[in-house]
Structures are given as C-alpha cells and as structure tokens.
Assembly symmetry: C2
C-alpha cells in the first residue's frame, strides 16, 4: 500500500527490486545523490516513470537536488519489507530444492532457509550445507513451532497444490512456487511464481522470431541484388 492507501499496480512493484539493485551499485561507487534524469540513463526507465513510481510511496526527493542514494535505498528496502528477517522452508528436496537450500545469496538478504522437507526416506535426515531434510509428515508442526513465513514449493506438478494447501493451513504468509503448474492460495497468503519452463519457452519464441526476421531480411537483400 502506498500513500493514501491507494493500490499500487504490480508493474510498479516488479520494478522496485531493480531500482534497489542499481542503488546498491551506486552506493558501492560512493555516489551520494542522483537525479531522476541520471538514474534514467543508468537503469533504462524514463525519468518520468522513475518519479511517478517513487511518488506512489511518498516524496523521497528534493526539488532542485534529486534523490539521496542512501535514503532512497533505505526507503525502497523498507517498502519491500527487506528490513525484516524471513524464515523459509523448502518443500521437495530434489535438484531444484537442494540448489535453493545451498544458494547462500538469499540468506545474505535476510531470507533464511530453516529446513527442507521431502517424503523420500532416502533423503530424510540428510544435511544440505547445514540445512536438514525433514519428513514432510511433520511439516505443519514445524511451520507452526518455528514460525515459518515462507514456503518454497519445489515438488513436481501433481503435488504442488496439496503442498500449497498444507503450507497455507500451517500458517505461512507467502508461497514461492517453482512447480511447473498454477496453484491457488487463500487471499491471506501471498503467492509468487517462478515458471522456469515458461521462461525457457518464451526464450525459444524470441530466438525464432529473430531468426525469421533475419531470413526475411536476407530475402529482401537478395531481391534488391537481382534488380540491380
């Protein structure tokens, strides 16, 4: 929610993490202030859009001066809720689940993987760089007792919905779904989806699109040469 409680469009939210990334880079370089115009040439959004986006949440800039890099960084971090710590569990300790468990990048940003869960007896009890794989049977109690905020779904398509239901029932506030299917969650649970296959298919489309255009261009050039 922004100022005046107005609903912020998802397009804006999706841009916030990117703003934040560029602000981190600027901070590293020791840049202290930036105008929307300078930021625009860096990040690739129009200056107008940057000002419009930020003003959804409040007037963070100063007329005639610009935005404080550190100030804006802190504001956006707070808007995203990155000034808090989050406790997560992974459900499905296959390849993807294991990779996410081991990926320390999230931990550094305040997202802690507390445990992984699976039904496979060969996996239960194993340790993934300090993260234990537990029996899926016990997930509800674990989520309740350990006050887990986020459930990460890394199971296959057919089990994703049942896992989502169980996680929601157990009381997670958010679900991060990597299963290649669409799931439904109660309105009080936030849902974010990463469809890797869909992303790959979209890449395939664009590759073929470029190819087609190149073929069309070649043909065009050939015809021009014939005319000469």
């Amino acid at each position: 929610m922004g100022k005046n409680n107005a609903k912020i469009s998802n397009a804006v939210i999706k841009r916030l993490p990117r703003y934040r990334r560029y602000l981190i880079e600027l901070k590293k370089k020791g840049v202290e202030k930036i105008s929307s115009k300078e930021f625009s040439s860096l990040i690739g959004y129009t200056a107008s859009q940057i000002r419009q986006d930020l003003n959804n949440f409040g007037g963070f800039g100063q007329q005639g001066y610009g935005y404080s890099v550190d100030g804006l960084y802190k504001e956006i971090s707070a808007i995203l809720g990155l000034d808090k710590e989050y406790r997560m569990v992974i459900v499905g300790a296959g390849n993807l689940g294991q990779a996410i468990a081991k990926y320390t990048h999230f931990h550094k940003q305040g997202f802690k993987v507390c445990a992984a869960f699976d039904i496979n007896p060969n996996l239960i009890g194993k340790d993934l760089d300090g993260i234990e794989i537990l029996d899926y049977e016990n997930i509800v109690e674990y989520v309740e007792e350990e006050e887990i905020d986020i459930g990460i779904i890394c199971v296959n398509r057919d089990n994703a919905q049942e896992v989502a239901d169980k996680l929601s029932f157990a009381g997670v506030k958010g679900i991060w779904n990597f299963a290649p299917t669409d799931i439904e969650v109660p309105t009080h649970v936030a849902l974010e989806v990463v469809h890797l296959s869909d992303s790959l298919h979209s890449l395939a489309y664009h590759m073929n699109d470029i190819q087609k255009k190149e073929v069309a261009q070649d043909k065009h050039r050939e015809e021009e040469n014939l005319r000469d």
Copy 2:
C-alpha cells in the same frame, strides 16, 4: 512474428506457454475441443483475450464449434518453436548451475544441456548426471563445434556480462540469465532473464501488503466495537 508480420506484444508471448500447459492437461483428460468461454473459466483469462491472443497468429478456431485442443496445442507449440530441439550449455557450475544441469524436465521438452563450464579446477572434469563440467577457457570452440543454441548464465553478478559477451561472440542464439544483474546482448541474440532475488523481494512486498491490510481491518473493527 504473427500474421501480416505485425509485432506481437510481449504480454501475449508470455501467455502462450500457459495456454500450452492447459492444453496439455486437456489432452491428457481426452478433451477434444474447447470454446474460448470454457477455456476462459479454466485458465482465468477472459474469452475475449483468448480469442484476441490467438488471432495474432491466425484463425485457429472454427465458428460455432470452438478450438481443437490438439490442433491448438500443435499451433502454439510451433509458434513457440517447441517443435525443434535446442542445445544448451550452462556457464557456472555452482549450486544453481548444477541443479539446472540435473533438472531433467527441460530435456523432456527438447532442451538438451550438452555441457557445463566453470573456471574452478576442482569442478572441471566432474560429471553431473552425465553432463560434464568443462574448462571455461574452451567455451568458444565448444559452442561453435557443438552448435550450441542457448547459453545459461549461472555465474555471479560480476562475471555475468563477460560471459554474455563470450557466449554471444561464440554464436549462441539465446541467453538465459540467472545472474542477479542486468546484462546487455547484441540484437541478434535473444535474452530471457530469471531474477530469483527480485522475485523473492516482490513476494516479501506482497506479504507485508497483506499484513498491513489485515492490521488496518482489525483496527477498523476495533473502532466499530468501541462505538457499539
């Protein structure tokens, strides 16, 4: 490119893999035809949008009847370029790179991981379920000789651009970027990005947004109770 060579908006492209997923499910269930209205209640897009989207590429339906499930599935698969095989390499054989190498899901869909590359001597020579980790030094020759179509970037932020440059130079047609940074590629190379951190940050926002709304509602209810 759709009919009349008109540029298709990216919003449409991003919906195609989802249409395709639902068509696969319908095929599995033995459903042979579907109207845009029925499809709408299933997939959650408006019937109007479905017809509009599909008509970007051609008239796949039949008035008074609807769409052939199998026919539409084949058309969308072809539009996405999924009737072809793709050869891929992974650059960066850390946790994420290894997970993608082992993730058989893509292989089933015609996207074959041919090799992984790293600079770490401890990793070079290792085998990931049949996929060898090779020396990054030799990536250009490998991509050329093995006719690699897609490069998957799983290195850290600081090396992502240099890897993208090398892959583009070597002749890949598409790059799938998992590094938590923005990279630039030549116009003849397609780019698809998966920003896991950004996705997680967006989830955090929505979780906090829901929380705030609940607090506001509780407060509202409290005030009403006081008045009674």
